[in-house]
Symmetry: D2
Subunit: 360 residues, 4 copies
C-alpha cells in the first residue's frame, strides 16, 4: 500500500514532537509536512527545535531536514499532505478557526486540542469506545460544505484510564449510575515546561485547572449516542473527579469507585469482560492498536505508572486492584500513558480508524 | 511545675527517634528512660543509634548519654519513669504483652502501635475528636486490676486528615452517611527503610498493605460512643478508602467526598465550622496542641504536603478545595503530618490530655 | 535598642520572599518598606503575591498589609527605611543603576544580585571570610560622593560550601594551589519557576548557565586582599568547577579536591581547624550568625542536603568525608543552604556586619 | 546458526532478571537453564519471582515455565547449557567457589560479580577497551586444568562512562596522567531494594561503600597490558573518584577532569576521536554492540540520564560538555546505563566477544 502523506501542525511543541516520534516508520502515514508558528517558519525542522527537542529518541531522520511551514498559510499544505494532526498551541478561538481552515481546504484534521471537543458536529473519539461517532462527520461535511475535509478530536488525557474499563461493562449490559474518581497525573500532561520542579519534588499538587470539569463531562459525550446527526449525552451517569498532579513523568493513574443501577457484575465477571474486551481497533487490527485494549494486572500493587505505562506501545489501559467497595459496588485502579494513549497515540489511532472506515 | 519522668520504649527506631525529638524541651515530660531490644541494651543511646539516627536535627543533648535499657526488663523502668511512650517494633502479640506488662507494673503506656487498637477496653484517641473515650481507662483499670497503669493508643496515620474535619461537622449536628476517600501517603509512613527508591522515583504505588482496612474501620471506633464501659462503633457511616504511596517524605493527603443524611451544610457553613473548630486540646491549651486544630487554605491548589505539613508544629490538619460534589454532597482535600500529628506528636498530645484529666 | 527601618526591593519574587521570612522578628531590622515592579505597586503586599507566595510559612503578619511601592520611585523609600535589601530581577544594567540610585539617595543597599559583583569599588562579602573588605566602602563613598549610601553584595550561592572551609585552612597558613570541585545544586537556586519538573524527575542536568564561571572566579575576589582601595585577586589559586542541577529543593553540595603548595595539613589538623573556626560574625555574635560556622560530620555518608541544610538556622556550612586524595592532597564534601546562607540569609548577615562595624 | 544454550545463575535477583530481559530473542544465546538459591529451586521461574519481578516488561514467554535449579547443584547444569551468566548474590568467597565449580565442570562463566575482579588469571573486560585481555583465558585454562570452562568478568558499573572515552584518547597516542572524577549514580546500581526512598527524595547521598576504590583501581587493570600471562596494571595514570547517589532510576553520570602528560589533544581532535571510535565489538558487528560506542552530544546540557541512557540499546556511552579545564587540561561529562552497559548488557557483549574469538 502506498503511504498517505500527512502533516503535523504545531510540530515544534511537545505534542507535535510526540506525533513525529510515533509516526516514524508508520505503515500508513508518511510525514511530509510540518508547520508551526511564523517564528519557526522557513527553518529546517532540526534548527527550529534546537534546544527544545524533548524526546529521549533523536529527531527522526526523515524529519530533520523538512522545512517548517507557517501553520497559518493553509494553502502551503495543499498537495503536500492529505491529513494533518493538530497540536497547535493557541487561544481556543484561534485553534478552532485554524483547524476549520484546513478542513475547508479539503485537508482532514485530527486534533489533540480541547477547542473543538464540544462543537456539536465534531466527533470526540476513543476508538475502542465510540467508533460509531465518526459518522457524525457525514453531518459535519454536509453542513459545512467540506468535501474531503473533516475535523475529529480526541478527549482529555485524564479519562482514558477509566472510560474504556467502564465501557467494557456498559457494553455487556451493566448500567453505571455513579463514579467517584481520584486521579494522580503525570507532569507531562501539562505540556512543557509544565509544573516547576520546586512544586513537584517532595510534593503533590491537588489541583489542575479545568481538569476536573473535563474528567467529569467528556466521558458523558463519549458514552453518548449518535442520533439524527447529534450526540445525545449519557446523562444517566454521574461522575465526580478529584485531579492531582504527582511527581511522575508519564502515566495518569486513577482510583475509581463505581456504583451500578440494577444488576451488578461479580468481580470475576468484570475481570473476564476486561480481559476479553476488544474494540474496533483490535478487530480491524489497526497498526497502532494495542493487542489488548485492557490489561488486567493480578499483582496486589499494580498498575504503577513507571512499570505499566508502556504496555503495548503505551497504548493499552492497565487496570488492577479490582475489589468490592464498602460504599459503592466495586472499585479499581486504572492507568494509561497520557502523552501516547492520551494524546498523540490516541489521535493516530483515530486517524487509522477514519482511514479504515473510508473517511480519509 | 516539676516535670514528669517519662520513657520511650522502642527508642532506637524511627518513631522512637521522633518521640525523643519532639519531647526535647517538653514543659511537662522529661525523658529519663530509653529502652529497646536486647541488642541495644547497655549501650549509650548515641552508640545504639550510630548510623541509624534519621532525624535532621541532632540527637537531643540530654539523651545522648542515657544508657539504653532492655525493653523487656520492665522492672528496670520502675522508679525511672512514670509514663512510657511505646514505639516497639515486634509481632502484634508480643507488643500487646509488653505494653500490658508495663501497665501492670504501674507505668502508664501511650502507644503508637496498632496492636491494641481493637482491644475493647483500650481507648484509641484523637484528642480533638474523642477526648471522652479516655474514661474507658476507668473500666480498664478496674477490670485489669492496674493501679496507676493504663494503656491508651492513637489511630493510624492515614486518617487524621479527614476524621477531624468530619467530626467538626458531626459535632455541629450534621449526619454523614458515606465517605469515599483516596489518599496519597508519604514514604515515612512505612517506617524505615520503607519503600525502595526504585519503587518511588517517577512512580506511584497504589497499594499499602492493611492501610485501607484501617482507614475505613478506625474512624468508626473514634467516632463511636462510650457507653457502659464499652465503645459503640459509629455504624451509620460507611467509609471506602483507596490508599496510595507517593514520592513525598512526610505528609499524608486525602481527597475526600462526603454524603450527608438529612440536612447538609452549605460550603460557607462548613468553612466556618472548620475555622472555628476547637477541641479539648485547644480549650485546655495543652503544650503540643496546635492553636488551630483545622486550618482552611483558600488558595485553589492547597493544601500541599511540603507547604502545609508543618503548620502549628506539624500538629494542625490543613484542608482546602472545599466544593460541591456532582455525586455526593461535598468534597475537599485534607492533609496532616503523618510522623508528627499521625504518630509521635499525636501520642504526646494524648498523654497531655491524660495528664490534664488526672489519669497520670 | 531601637530597630532600624529596612526595606526589600524586589520584594515579591522568591528571594524577596525569603528576605521577608528571615527578617520576621529580626532584633535589629524592622521591615517597613517593600517595593517591586510597577505592576505590583499600589497593592497590599498580600494581594501582590496572591498565588505567588512560595514559602511554606505564611506571609509575616506585619508585612501582609504593607502597600507595595514602585521600586523605581527611589524617592518614596526616603524616610521609610534606612537600608534596603535588593532582590530585584531585571537586566544587569538596570539593576546596577537602580541600586546606585538608592545608594545615591543615601540609602545603603545590600544586594543578592550578581550585577555589581565585579564592580571594583563594591565589596563582595562572606562575613566569615573577608569581613575586612567592607572597608572598600570608604573608597566607594568617597569616590561616588555617597554620604550614608553604600552598595555591598554577596557572592553566588554555589561557592559557600567550599570557600569557607578553604579559608579556614588558608587562615592557618596553608597555601592552596588548585581546586577541582563538582557541585550538585538544588532547583531553588534557579529562582522560580526554575527547571521544569520534566527535566528533574529521574534526571540530573549537568549544566547551569554561567554558574561554572562564577564558581571559579568569585572565590578569587573574596580571598583577595584589599590594598589602596582596591581588591587584589588571589591569583595563586586555580579553581575548576563542574556544576550540576539535581532533584533537591534546597542545599547546594560540592565534592571538592584540594592541592596545596608547600606544607599540607594532616586530616586531623584540617578537622580541628574547621571545628574551631570562628569568623567575625561568630566573634561579634551577630544575630544571624551560626554558632558554628563550619560543622564537621563524622558519619561516612554526610553531609546530605535534606539532613544538613538547616543546621544553625540554615546558616552553617556542613562538611564531611574528609580523606586523602590519590591525585591531589585531600578531598571532602561540603554543603550549604543556597537560598538562606547562599542568598537572603548571607545578605542579612552582611548587613549585620556593616551595622556592627558602623557602616549603617 | 544454531543458538548456543545458556544459563543464568542468580536468575531471580535484579541483575538476573536483567539478563533474562536482554537475552530474550538473542540471536546467538538461548536461555535454557535458570538457577538460584535452594529456596527457589524446584519452582517454575514465574512462581519463584512472584512479587519480585522488577522489570517493566513482562517475564519473557520462554522463561516463565522453566524450572529453577539449585545454583549449587552444578552438575544439573551440564548438558543443559554451554555457558552461564553469573549474577549470584553471596559472600565473595562463596561466589568465587561457585563460579570456579561451573568452570571446572566445563561450563564457561561470564560474571557480573566483583569477586573475581582481581584474581590474576581472570580477565576483566570492557570489550571496546581491552578485548585482548581475553587471551588471559589461555593461561587460566592451562593453569587450572579447565577444558572448555573459563571465567571472565565485567568491571564495576561506575567506570563505563569515563574509561571508554579515556581509552579512545590513549589509543590515539595521548598519555593521561591524572583524572579527577565525580559521579552521580542511579539507585538501581545498588541492586534491589537499594537505598530507601526516605534517603533519596529531595536528597543526594555523597557516599557509596567501596565504590570510590573500585572506580579508581579497576580502570588501571582494564587499561593495563597483558604480558606473559599476567596483567600489568597501568600505573602511570592516577585516578581520584567522588561517588554520589542521586535520585535517578538508571544511568550513572560522571564529571571528569583529565590531565595529560606531554602532548594534549585539541578539543576538536578529542571530539573527532570519540565520534570515530570503534572497538572490536563494532568491528566484529557483535549483536549487542552499540553502533556507536561513544556518542558526542553537542547540546550544552547533555548527556542527561533520562534522555541519553537508552542510546543504542542502552549500550552506548554518551559524552558531552567537552571544554578546557582551568586546572587540568580538559573536562567533560560522561554517561552510561548502569544496569545494561554497566552490568548484564556488558557481560552479554563480553560473551559475544568470547564466542567470536573462539573461546566458547
Amino acid at each position: 500500500m502506498k503511504r498517505m502523506k500527512v502533516g503535523v501542525i504545531g510540530a515544534t511543541g511537545m505534542v507535535g514532537q510526540n506525533y513525529l516520534r510515533l509516526l516514524k516508520n508508520h505503515p500508513w502515514f508518511d510525514v511530509k509536512y510540518v508547520a508551526a508558528s511564523p517564528r519557526s517558519a522557513g527553518k529546517r525542522y532540526e534548527e527550529a527545535v534546537a534546544g527544545r527537542w524533548l524526546m529521549a529518541e533523536p529527531i527522526p531522520e526523515q524529519i530533520r531536514g523538512l522545512v517548517v511551514e507557517d501553520a497559518n498559510a493553509v494553502g502551503s499544505a495543499k498537495g503536500k499532505c492529505d491529513l494533518v494532526f493538530s497540536a497547535v498551541e493557541l487561544e481556543k478561538d484561534a485553534i478552532r478557526k485554524l483547524e476549520e481552515a484546513y478542513a475547508a481546504a479539503g485537508i482532514p484534521v485530527v486534533s489533540n486540542n480541547s477547542a473543538h471537543r464540544s462543537t456539536p458536529d465534531v466527533p470526540m473519539i476513543i476508538p475502542e469506545v465510540n467508533p460509531g461517532h465518526i459518522e457524525l462527520i457525514d453531518t459535519q461535511r454536509e453542513k459545512r460544505g467540506w468535501g474531503k475535509g473533516l475535523i475529529a478530536v480526541k478527549p482529555n488525557c485524564s479519562i482514558q484510564s477509566y472510560v474504556t474499563p467502564m465501557f467494557a461493562l456498559i457494553e455487556a449490559g451493566y448500567k453505571i449510575e455513579a463514579v467517584i474518581v481520584s486521579t494522580m497525573q503525570a507532569v507531562s500532561g501539562a505540556g512543557y515546561p509544565g509544573p516547576a520542579s520546586m512544586k513537584m519534588i517532595d510534593n503533590v499538587v491537588p489541583y489542575i485547572g479545568g481538569e476536573e470539569e473535563k474528567s467529569e463531562q467528556e466521558p458523558l459525550r463519549i458514552l453518548g449516542k449518535l442520533k439524527n446527526g447529534r450526540i445525545i449525552l449519557e446523562k444517566t451517569i454521574k461522575i465526580a473527579a478529584h485531579c492531582n498532579r504527582v511527581a511522575v513523568i508519564d502515566g495518569h493513574m486513577a482510583c475509581v469507585s463505581l456504583k451500578f443501577k440494577g444488576a451488578k457484575p461479580s468481580l470475576d465477571e468484570v475481570k473476564k469482560l476486561w480481559i476479553n474486551f476488544a474494540g474496533e481497533p483490535q478487530k480491524l487490527n489497526l497498526p497502532t492498536a494495542p493487542k489488548e485494549a485492557i490489561i488486567y494486572r493480578e499483582e496486589p500493587d499494580r498498575p504503577q505508572p513507571r512499570m505499566d505505562r508502556d504496555a503495548w506501545g503505551a497504548m493499552a489501559v492497565s487496570v488492577g486492584r479490582l475489589r468490592e467497595c464498602p460504599v459503592f459496588d466495586l472499585r479499581f485502579v486504572g492507568l494509561s500513558h497520557n502523552t501516547v494513549r492520551g494524546a498523540a497515540g490516541g489521535a493516530i489511532l483515530s486517524a487509522e480508524l477514519l482511514k479504515a472506515k473510508g473517511y480519509l
